[in-house]
């Protein structure tokens, strides 16, 4: 009887098509918006004349490529997503979208975004976009994520490449300044993600994902966050001296960087992630001991946004760089 009921439920669920909003959610719109923003900054900072329609198509391709990566990630990780508080509401994990549909959407959008980038923009930008999708979906999601605590360090390259793709779309080249923008996001990723994982380590441990706090412990993770922060902030200030950023950028990067290191130092001196704590729903709902981690996590998003917004604002306002 119970078997029959379960079979009926599965058959009913399989017969119910997902809502179109579930397919939008597969594309991780919040991640996509950050990728669009950094990609656009790279494109604008390249200072190359570009047809606005083709520039828009380039950004659209970057956005859709990022969305395709998200869909492939949700297809592959549905088993662990379903068992973690932060991710259990995702469409595949929650059973609203079939895994095969997510896979189909991811592959289709990957092909369309890279193909359109080749046709509309240039081969270098398309190759970088293809590399980014494969790196995130295959190298990070299928390999690194479940096998090493360095997963988000190496995997962070996928999230760091959009400004380089934007730059390549505008100029057909990737000079050092483009890679500097990439380095900023790459070095930002470990403190950002490990701060989050300090107060979500229980979930990662439960599903066997070897995040740094699970494998090396909270104290080591806090020290490594401080270490990466000390490398990241100088890299974030560097564009002010490489002909990329102006006075506004220098002020934002230096002041924000000081606050970033201050928060990382406070986190390193504290006890965040030490005790298994019950917490509420949402990324920001933590108990007192983990507030330092929550604060750094939240500030890291604001700081990265401010850095790229400053570069974008300077370019659009025609403000000069500190060095020509």
């Amino acid at each position: 009887m119970a078997d029959t009921a379960a079979q009926t439920e599965v058959a009913t669920r399989a017969a119910v098509p997902a809502r179109w909003q579930d397919f939008v959610a597969l594309l991780k719109p919040r991640v996509m918006s950050l990728v669009v923003f950094t990609g656009l900054t790279g494109l604008v900072c390249a200072r190359a004349p570009m047809n606005p329609v083709l520039a828009g198509v380039a950004i659209l391709c970057i956005a859709v490529g990022a969305g395709a990566s998200g869909a492939l990630n949700m297809w592959y990780d549905a088993d662990i997503d379903a068992r973690m508080r932060r991710t259990r509401g995702r469409p595949v994990a929650a059973g609203r979208v079939q895994g095969a549909d997510a896979l189909g959407l991811g592959v289709t959008l990957s092909i369309l975004s890279v193909g359109l980038m080749v046709l509309a923009v240039n081969l270098l930008a398309a190759a970088l976009l293809a590399f980014t999708i494969v790196f995130y979906a295959v190298v990070y999601t299928m390999w690194l994520k479940r096998s090493t605590p360095q997963n988000i360090v190496i995997g962070g390259l996928a999230g760091a490449l959009p400004p380089v793709i934007g730059w390549a779309a505008a100029t057909g080249t990737t000079p050092l300044n483009a890679w500097l923008l990439c380095a900023i996001i790459f070095l930002w990723t470990p403190p950002h993600f490990w701060a989050l994982s300090l107060y979500t380590a229980e979930d990662y441990a439960k599903v066997g994902v070897p995040m740094m706090p699970v494998v090396r412990g909270a104290a080591s993770t806090r020290r490594q966050i401080l270490f990466y922060s000390l490398i990241f902030v100088p890299a974030a200030i560097a564009p002010a001296f490489t002909g990329l950023g102006g006075r506004l950028y220098l002020a934002v990067s230096a002041l924000g960087g000081a606050a970033f290191i201050g928060l990382a130092a406070r986190l390193a001196a504290g006890k965040a992630g030490e005790a298994a704590e019950a917490r509420g729903e949402g990324l920001y709902a933590v108990k007192a001991g983990a507030k330092d981690a929550r604060n750094l996590f939240a500030f890291s998003i604001l700081y990265l946004f401010a850095l790229f917004a400053a570069l974008l604002a300077e370019r659009l306002a025609g403000l000069p760089a500190l060095r020509p």
Partner: protein
């Protein structure tokens, strides 16, 4: 008209909306490729590069 399985009105609506979304996305893609083609051709006419 029956399509072979019991489908609730809610499920039918979800399926219809998804079909419309796919149609709109495909239509937008076709228009986009057309516009890109025109822009690229125009660029080569203005600057043939030889």
């Amino acid at each position: 008209m029956s399509d072979g399985f019991n489908e609730s009105p809610e499920a039918a609506k979800a399926r219809r909306m998804r079909s419309i979304a796919i149609a709109l996305a495909l239509g937008a893609f076709v228009v986009l490729v057309f516009i890109v083609t025109i822009v690229r051709i125009k660029g080569h006419v203005v600057d043939p590069g030889f």
